[in-house]
């Protein structure tokens, strides 16, 4: 498979740099570890034995083997209500943010649903402060909106390479549409029978954030089946950067 011929220049440079990054990782792995914690960014990973479980007769998610006297306390209705409360709280904050012209200007015409980060002191004094983190495809930048007591206190643009919020379900769907069209145009019919799974793509060096908004998609016959195809989709440029057919 070939990388897309209309790949953005910066992305092409990153792909060219990947082999040297791998070599650097291997070289760093030769360093003695001492008392420093393992840093996966610099150490080649290993796969120790003695880790396998006996999964016979197990369900998913797993349940402790031999448990007895189970008293269920879950209540799906309550969980749904909690989910709805979260959705409403998020929507209210988005409404407050988007009412401000400086926020709309920073976001441009194309942006995602925001990630929300809350922080504060353990006594709860910071609970009224939160940050909405959008990704603006139009401006190819992360936009941070700080809310304090439901008032916009600040709007900041963050370079995409410095930070990007987590991927949303809508972004995965959008990336899937682009990828399927790409595969279809190349008569890769097998993909149409596969289910797509999406996750935010990262780079193995630096901060790890791509210079654009890139979603990694893997295509599987079933959830527990290995991937058969993979695609890196750039939502900023609305293009497929790269695809790969997996070999099991």
């Amino acid at each position: 498979m070939q990388a897309h011929s209309r790949l953005p220049h910066r992305a092409r440079l990153l792909l060219l740099a990947l082999p040297s990054v791998v070599l650097l990782s291997v070289a760093l792995a030769l360093n003695a570890r001492g008392e420093s914690p393992v840093d996966p960014a610099t150490v080649e990973v290993g796969h120790p034995t003695g880790h396998l479980h006996d999964h016979a007769d197990q369900t998913w998610p797993p349940q402790p083997r031999g448990l007895r006297n189970v008293v269920p306390l879950s209540n799906p209705g309550n969980a749904e209500r909690v989910t709805e409360l979260r959705r409403r709280a998020r929507a209210e904050r988005e409404r407050i943010a988007l009412a401000r012209p400086e926020v709309r200007q920073a976001l441009g015409k194309r942006y995602n649903r925001p990630d929300v980060v809350e922080s504060g002191a353990k006594d709860g004094t910071g609970a009224a402060t939160s940050r909405l983190l959008y990704f603006s495809y139009a401006n190819n930048t992360t936009v941070e909106v700080t809310l304090d007591n439901n008032q916009v206190r600040g709007v900041r643009r963050i370079r995409a390479t410095d930070y990007q919020p987590d991927v949303t379900d809508e972004e995965i769907t959008a990336a899937e549409v682009i990828a399927r069209a790409y595969f279809e145009a190349r008569n890769t019919e097998r993909v149409s029978a596969l289910k797509a799974y999406g996750i935010l793509a990262y780079l193995p060096e630096g901060t790890g954030f791509y210079p654009t908004r890139v979603i990694y998609l893997s295509f599987h016959a079933a959830a527990d089946a290995p991937p058969e195809f993979a695609a890196w989709v750039d939502l900023t440029s609305q293009r497929v950067l790269r695809i790969r057919e997996e070999r099991s």
Partner: protein
């Protein structure tokens, strides 16, 4: 109020208080000697807060900010798994997205609270198990393949320890000849402490929790021997001074290990312990094979005695007659019901006239131990009286019968 009732009340309280404010949702839980609140946030996954045991504060919070994933030769990824977004239903929890239940395992009672999140092809169950005697097992189960290459997950737990309050806590490392306090913020391989032992202790009150690797398989062993050393070797521990500005989940990429190490003094302060686990997954094992790892926290509070309804010294969970005093636990037919509460001689599920006939046929004989209900060596009138007192009832109740 039952545990289920308390749960419902908690959610109601959360509903009333969360319309505009926190995106996170919270609800109080009281179970055995534990009290805690819980939240599901998109920055720290399932988080338990204000955790007390026997009325003593242990933790301000315990959360799961991130799981970083690295594939060999960066064939795909790396990735950052942050839990708590769109949750998935849990089939054995009535398809709720939040599993809550209590159970008995190995004679010990546990409370379980967990969420399931699917990120890419990863299917992840993040869970806390709390035991009635003061242990918390924070655990993660993961399966799925983003590409067909060996990879390792590095799950991270953030443990904001507040023993008897936020101040005067210190992190200690086992040196092999005792525990030594860590003076400043640090990053360390977990196995730099012999016996895998790290500890957080309040210097004023002596309240402490031991921090150990979690269980390897999912039988939740009742001992400190947990993960195989080969797997534990790549775990890491990080000590930090609490800062509100650092209390905001994971806002980094995959290549950042736990940040915020400024070399600040952490001796007898408000401290935060991060614990990074190690979860390798070989591609040859396939996407469906799950793996798990975790961290175990054990308080030094004397655990309350286990429930023993009949006061015979045998805890209910292992008592074959939970409401009848039978310290000997005599059970001659081995059906899980002690003889003293098992007048169901034909095992049809109820004590009836057929059982009376069987007992009468053996009267005066020592050849029918199953019918010798009081175990005095002979079937006699005392056994007849016992059978009569149980007439129309099932055997038991028993804590060990199938």
């Amino acid at each position: 109020m039952s545990a289920a009732g308390r749960f419902r009340a908690g959610v109601l309280a959360a509903a009333l208080g969360t319309v505009l404010s926190p995106l996170a949702t919270a609800a109080p839980v009281t179970w055995q000697a534990w009290t805690f609140d819980y939240q599901v946030t998109n920055t720290e996954g399932l988080k338990i807060t204000n955790v007390t045991f026997q009325g003593r504060t242990l933790l301000s919070s315990l959360s799961f900010p991130v799981m970083r994933v690295f594939y060999d030769a960066n064939a795909c990824g790396p990735f950052v798994d942050r839990l708590g977004g769109t949750l998935s239903p849990i089939p054995w929890a009535n398809n709720s997205t939040l599993a809550q239940r209590e159970f008995t395992l190995g004679g010990k009672q546990w409370y379980e609270i967990g969420i399931r999140d699917e990120i890419g092809n990863y299917d992840i169950y993040q869970v806390y198990y709390l035991s009635a005697d003061g242990t918390i097992d924070a655990h993660i189960y993961s399966k799925g393949l983003q590409c067909v290459v060996n990879h390792v997950h590095y799950p991270n737990w953030r443990i904001d320890v507040d023993l008897d309050g936020a101040t005067n806590d210190q992190i200690l490392r086992d040196t092999g000849s005792g525990f030594t306090a860590m003076a400043t913020e640090f990053n360390a391989a977990a196995d730099s402490a012999p016996n895998h032992a790290w500890r957080v202790r309040d210097t004023t009150t002596g309240l402490q929790i031991d921090v150990l690797p979690g269980f390897a398989d999912f039988s939740i062993p009742d001992g400190s021997t947990t993960l195989p050393i080969a797997g534990y070797a790549n775990h890491s521990v990080f000590g930090r001074l609490f800062r509100a500005s650092e209390n905001r989940g994971w806002t980094f990429g995959p290549n950042t290990q736990v940040p915020y190490n400024n070399g600040e003094n952490i001796d007898s302060k408000d401290v935060v312990l991060w614990y990074e686990g190690y979860l390798p997954h070989s591609a040859a094992e396939g996407a469906g094979l799950w793996h798990s790892t975790g961290v175990r926290l054990i308080s030094n509070l004397v655990p309350p005695p286990p429930p023993d309804a009949d006061g015979d010294g045998v805890p209910d969970a292992t008592d074959n007659c939970t409401l009848v005093v039978n310290a000997s636990q005599l059970d001659t037919n081995g059906d899980g019901y002690g003889n003293l509460c098992d007048a169901d001689l034909n095992n049809n599920g109820v004590v009836d006239s057929q059982d009376g006939a069987l007992l009468k046929a053996a009267f005066g004989s020592a050849l029918f131990p199953d019918r010798d209900l009081n175990g005095n060596g002979v079937v006699d009138s005392q056994d007849g009286a016992l059978l009569k007192s149980r007439f129309g009832q099932p055997p038991g109740p028993s804590g060990v019968a199938p």
